[in-house]
Amino acid sequence: MSIQLDQSRDLLRVENLRVAFGPPKQRREVVEGVSFTLAAGRCLAIVGESGSGKSVTARSLVGLTGGDAHVSADALAFEGRSLLGLRDRGWRALRGKGVGFVLQDALVSLDQLRPVGKEIAEGLRLHRWGTRETRRARVVELLTQVGVPEPELRARQLPHELSGGLRQRALIAAAIALDPPLIIADEPTTALDVTVQAQVLDLLAQTKERGTALILISHDLAVVARMADEVAVMRAGEIVERGPASEVLARPRHAYTRALLDAVPSTHSKGTRLSPAPPSPLIREPAPAAAAPVRDGARVPVLEATGLVKRYRGPDGITRTVVDDVSFELAAGETLGVVGESGSGKTTTARIALALTEPDGGQVLLNGGPWTAVPERRRRARRRQIGVVYQDPLSSFDPRWSVERILLDALPEGGYPGAAQRRARIGELLEQVGLEHEHRDRRPLQLSGGQRQRVAIARALAPEPSVIVCDEPVSALDVSIQAQVLDLLTDLQAALGLSYLFISHDLGVIHHMSDRVLVLNDGKVVEQGTADEIFFSPRQPYTQQLLAALPTLAREPRDLAEVG
């Protein structure tokens, strides 16, 4: 294979790396024989879902697997020197100077109690680089290099005073401070908005161009597609497929890689199934034409928002308008996607639609009747008409309750006269969302992330609503689980004639799910239209910018190869 490079030129060589955790008797293998090599100036992407062992692999390269880990390998060499059997002192000399390490979510990856500049200078100080004065100058230089404006000021600020993008840049600055030949970036863009993500990726690309090798750990194939020379796909501690990025992404050989690629919702995937799982068995026939509400003989939207405004007074006494004149309509059986970056007012809009937050202006009509404008007392009986699925299902369940109890609580009062009927209904709900009978008695903590979200969907379905508000329902899920949940939502819509107000920051997911799309920025509606209008011919610059920043697999593999 072409990637078999001359060993003498290898910057990093890993052969049969195995990592296990726990005491000898209960040892749990997490990485089971991983091998790869990396030449100077190249970028290797290790891709996998959570628990695949990709992060542990990365950490074992700098000896940071933790106290109870057992690491072994046939070979583990950096710059021709074996790292096996390295003592603490040796590792410390390597870290920072030989290998720079960038973690995800810079707010918790930087010490929040220390100024950013001190964190960046720390590596310099530890490796006895320069004097206090020269280090200070170097910090400013580094911040400038990673594109941080006003570097002197930023160096004195605390992490929480910086935006997420600036923090991630600062973290990269700390990693490249000593010009290490290798940078390992573990999910460097996961918590970032798409536009910021693009900037950070650009920055890493620049670093690479200067000759630094890069190991990029990610769950996001699209991110990888843009950067990597070579991709290794990991599953359950093993590399299932490895090769040049163009090969692997365009012509995956392994079924798992293929499934992963298929699961990514994108502009191309609309109307297709993302997961290999069959449709829910209960949903045999398509729904009868959704019973749309009627007013004055005319069909009206199930949800109709006009001129919504919401302001909050911050702790500093300044009032901010989080939702600014937002109007939309959601027709029966339709999905309205709401997309926007963090702080754009998506969630507040969802809460107003649910009448959990009182708007300061405007109102929402539900099935043609006043909804937010009436007192809670009068809303209560109608609440069963609108359901909700949250991003974090775990916190939306009372931790003491079993699945059955959670669903029982959601059944409409008086709807099912006998206990047997209620139980039967719960069985039906579980079946609809693809859960087993045995899950009834589990508590939320005992379920996996995908299962929890299914319970959340079942709960939303229980009162037989016409509308479900989905607030980032798949953001916390791995891509394959995400695919299953998205497919489930699609199936349910088809079977039950539901309307979705679907909120997400993920443009791919939004395009995949939505009939129409609402783009929010700073609380205002930037653009509204059908999904294809928005995605293929955006009119507003903000939308265009957003789409341009989206790392995507959409580009033809041939183009990619040219870039590589």
Binding site: K97, L103, D111, L113, R114, E119, G123, H160
Partner: protein
């Protein structure tokens, strides 16, 4: 802090002081038993019932013949002028008595607090997440220390280190060596409490990504513990210290009695026993004041350790 914040805080503090004074005044005034009799009998070491003619001059002198409300208003009026009144029993202005006694108590409690912090920090740094045996030893010590009653610990330390080993003075000395045992007596249980929250936070912090970041820059274990984790780990302990100061004053009452140290604790016990209302109220006000100040200091310390508080 904004001007409004300061004003709210000040009002709150005055409210606490007023409520403390009022509560104490009424509790003490409404006790059964005649105050004038108490004063007379204590001076003569008798327990007899006094005749009206004996009581009259005392009642007149202290204003006991006034109505309760009248006495209360009189007392509040005095407070407003900064006059805490005069002790019934000691025949001295309350402010002077407290002024004389507060010094040793503050020295004791502050030293105890420092001891507690020193013990818990050293213990945390040395044992937290350092293998099963070490951390079990460390947290085991903390649990035991937190359950040690002051009086018992005090007596044990006194007998072993002062009476038997003669390493420290037995009683009363305000010298440095005389401070060690009482401050340890107060400080060890507190070290247990602070150690528990510090250790917990410390272990949490050691799992945080920024610690991994620091290690990935080449920082050693001790560096991570002292330069990064420690600062985070002391935050809950600092909050605790505000509460602890109250507990330390409670403990001081006992420790001062065990070690025959001068201080506000002894004054308080004897004043409460003698129902010396102005003095008890004065001490209560003082403690309420200490509480208010302690909480301000805690906020301040928090701000020093956690710079986010300054900018948030």
């Amino acid at each position: 802090m904004s001007a409004r914040g300061v004003a709210v805080r000040l009002l709150g503090a005055i409210g606490v002081l007023w409520a403390a004074a009022t509560f104490t005044f009424f509790v003490q005034t409404l006790l059964p038993g005649d105050r004038a009799t108490l004063i007379l009998n204590q001076e003569s070491g008798q327990t007899i019932k006094r005749t009206a003619s004996e009581l009259a001059p005392i009642n007149a002198k202290y204003g006991f013949d006034d109505s309760i409300v009248g006495q209360y208003l009189h007392y509040l009026g005095g407070l407003a002028r900064g006059d805490l009144g005069s002790s019934y029993q000691l025949h001295e202005p309350v402010a002077r008595i407290i002024g004389d006694q507060i010094g040793p108590t503050i020295v004791l409690t502050v030293t105890a607090l420092l001891f507690a912090w020193a013990i818990s920090l050293v213990l945390t740094i040395a044992t937290a997440k350092r293998g099963r045996v070490r951390s079990t030893l460390g947290s085991g010590f903390e649990t035991i220390a937190a359950g040690l009653p002051h009086y018992w610990l005090g007596v044990v330390l006194l007998v072993v280190f002062a009476i038997d080993l003669k390493w420290f003075p037995v009683e009363g000395e305000t010298s440095l060596s005389g401070l060690v045992l009482p401050a340890l007596t107060l400080g060890i249980p507190l070290a247990g409490f602070i150690g528990q929250v510090t250790r917990d936070e410390f272990e949490k912090v050691l799992d945080q990504p920024f610690v991994t970041s620091a290690r990935a820059r080449g920082m050693g274990d001790l560096g991570v513990r002292t330069r990064h984790a420690l600062r985070h780990a002391v935050l809950p302990g600092i909050t605790l210290s505000g509460w602890a100061l109250g507990a330390l004053f409670s403990g001081a009452v006992i420790v001062e009695s065990v070690f025959a140290r001068p201080g506000i604790g002894q004054v308080l016990v004897s004043a409460a026993n003698a129902r010396d209302i102005p003095l008890v109220s004065g001490v209560v006000m003082l403690l309420a004041f200490v509480y208010v100040v302690a909480n301000l200091l805690v906020d301040l310390a928090y701000t020093v350790v956690d710079p986010r508080m300054r900018t948030a």
